[in-house]
């Protein structure tokens, strides 16, 4: 906890100062936060990031869950398939970003050349203002392997005898899924949901390596904006204020998710609530 709390407090103090690297820090109270409210790029970055999160999190969860269910069947070559589906997650962020820059390239990229061969209309992908964020969503969902692996591990914990009980009561596949698998998986679904939201709100690599926030600020993700403020414009005070706004925002969302979870997450121990 020391590794976390110390730096957190330091950044809170920074956020109350007008501190630009090279000049002495000056205490200015809440002025940074005031400035945020009137900063169109702040609102833009918040919008872009929220849009991205709303797209990526549900899609990743759904893809991960469905594939985990499929791969948990007694299909032959299961190890092989699992590895295939997990492969994208193994590629280091820098390498996968470089790889996708090519895939998205409108002229010699993989996607447009496939579309052309199929006689379909092509897209400008990350180079178009409207298509940039959906393109990055596509790339992120490609890496649903982590969610899938967690779901797979979770599926192993579902007690087998309950399936037998459903079968005795005359329930079919759907009843088994609905009354046994799904309730037992809710803690794991919840985990993937919370960490997915926390993670996607902090997306940075793609914006940094692939688009630099462009075109026309279409991929001005929150952390990327924060990063440019801190390390390009050297405005540490303002960047710290940005960080704290994001922190409070994610905190509120997480608390809301935990509260809401009481209604649908099923635990073996009632005391855990």
């Amino acid at each position: 906890m020391i590794f976390t709390i110390g730096p957190m407090v330091a950044s809170l103090v920074f956020s109350l100062t007008d501190w630009t690297i090279g000049a002495p820090a000056k205490f200015i109270g809440l002025d940074n936060y005031d400035r945020l409210a009137g900063d169109p790029l702040f609102w833009k970055s918040l919008n872009v990031t929220t849009y991205y999160t709303l797209g990526v999190v549900p899609l990743t969860l759904l893809a991960g869950f469905v594939v985990a269910l499929l791969l948990n069947q007694g299909v032959r070559g299961r190890s092989f398939w699992r590895t295939i589906y997990y492969l994208p997650t193994l590629v280091p962020a820098v390498a996968s970003s470089v790889l996708w820059i090519w895939i998205f390239n409108p002229d010699f990229g993989l996607l447009n050349s496939l579309l052309r061969q199929g006689g379909l209309p092509t897209s400008s992908w990350i180079y178009g203002e409207r298509s940039a964020v959906p393109s990055l969503m596509l790339m992120s969902v490609w890496g649903f392997g982590n969610a899938m692996v967690i779901f797979l591990a979770g599926l192993q914990g579902v007690p087998r005898h309950l399936y037998e009980a459903v079968a005795i009561d005359g329930g079919g596949t759907w009843a088994r899924f609905r009354h046994v698998t799904l309730p037992f998986m809710t803690p794991v679904i919840f985990y993937n949901l919370v960490t997915g939201v926390i993670g996607t709100f902090q997306v940075f690599n793609q914006a940094y390596i692939m688009t630099q926030g462009g075109p026309n600020n279409a991929t001005q993700f929150y952390i990327y904006y924060l990063y440019t403020k801190a390390f390009t414009d050297s405005e540490i005070g303002y960047a710290s204020a940005l960080a704290w706004v994001l922190f409070i925002l994610v905190l509120v969302i997480t608390i809301a998710l935990f509260r809401n979870a009481r209604r649908w997450v099923y635990y073996e121990i009632g005391a855990a609530r």
């Binding site: 906890m1 590794f3 976390t4 110390g6 730096p7 957190m8 330091a10 950044s11 791969l71 069947q73 299961r78 190890s79 398939w81 699992r82 590895t83 295939i84 589906y85 997990y86 492969l87 193994l90 590629v91 280091p92 820098v94 390498a95 470089v98 790889l99 090519w102 895939i103 002229d107 010699f108 050349s113 982590n146 692996v149 967690i150 797979l152 591990a153 979770g154 599926l155 192993q156 914990g157 007690p159 087998r160 309950l162 803690p187 919370v194 960490t195 926390i198 902090q202 952390i223 924060l226 801190a230 960047a239 960080a243 704290w244 922190f247 994610v250 905190l251 635990y267 121990i269 005391a271």
Partner: protein, 271 residues
Amino acid sequence: MALWIVLGLGGAVMILPFVWLVRSALMTDNQIFISPPEWLPEPFAWSNFTGAMSSRPFARYFLNTMIIEVLVVTGTVLTCSLAAFSFSRLRWRGRNLVFGLLLTGVMLPYAVTLIPTFVMWGSLGALDTFVPLTLPAWFAGAGGGVFNIFLFRQFFLTIPYELDEAAYIDGATPWKVFWSVIMPLSKPVIVVVVIFTFIGVWNDFLGPLLYLTDDSKFTLALGLAGFQSTYTAQWGFLMAASLVVILPITLIFFALQRYFVEGVTLTGVKG
């Protein structure tokens, strides 16, 4: 059969970018940028691999990475599972409050805590050693480790509490319950944490970049990135090196994932 077709189609989509990586790794730079793109290298540019591997001491980087891996993976699994055990199966005052506080720690963008953390390690004289990269793992992961505690906790919460009670009635201590009841039933999640932690360290770029300066202490990821800045124009080299770095973890994942199959049957527990 239908399942096979679905998996095959999905798998093809998943692997396509990877195939793209492989074919690029085997092409000369001239061929990579041809439009419309070609799928087969002509000729196969194996020299990308030999060139990439001999340009840097990758064996040394591999050894450094493995030292950090062993220390971090062991520390993370032991301390995070223990913390999660405390958060899910022991009752104490303020338990949920402390857990909540821990979770908030990962919500502050890491870019912000970067500088203060760096200054802290500097004042402790730990720069250019493996200490900043390995020691936090022995304190329940610190920072990102919170996700592991959360993951363990969510799994522990699905294990029937009757098992603990039965063990306590037999005179077991909490330690005994942790080691002999909970951990053996948690193999799938332990494997997940091992895999995630292993890959995290393997691909971690920022940590080694900040703390290591001496080339003989570099990790694979750092070597790969340095590679990228040295050979910005040589895409084939970069793709070949990336492939060499990805291959070992792919094999490790392939070997580890079979432990998911050893499911928990929980016989003898009647809900």
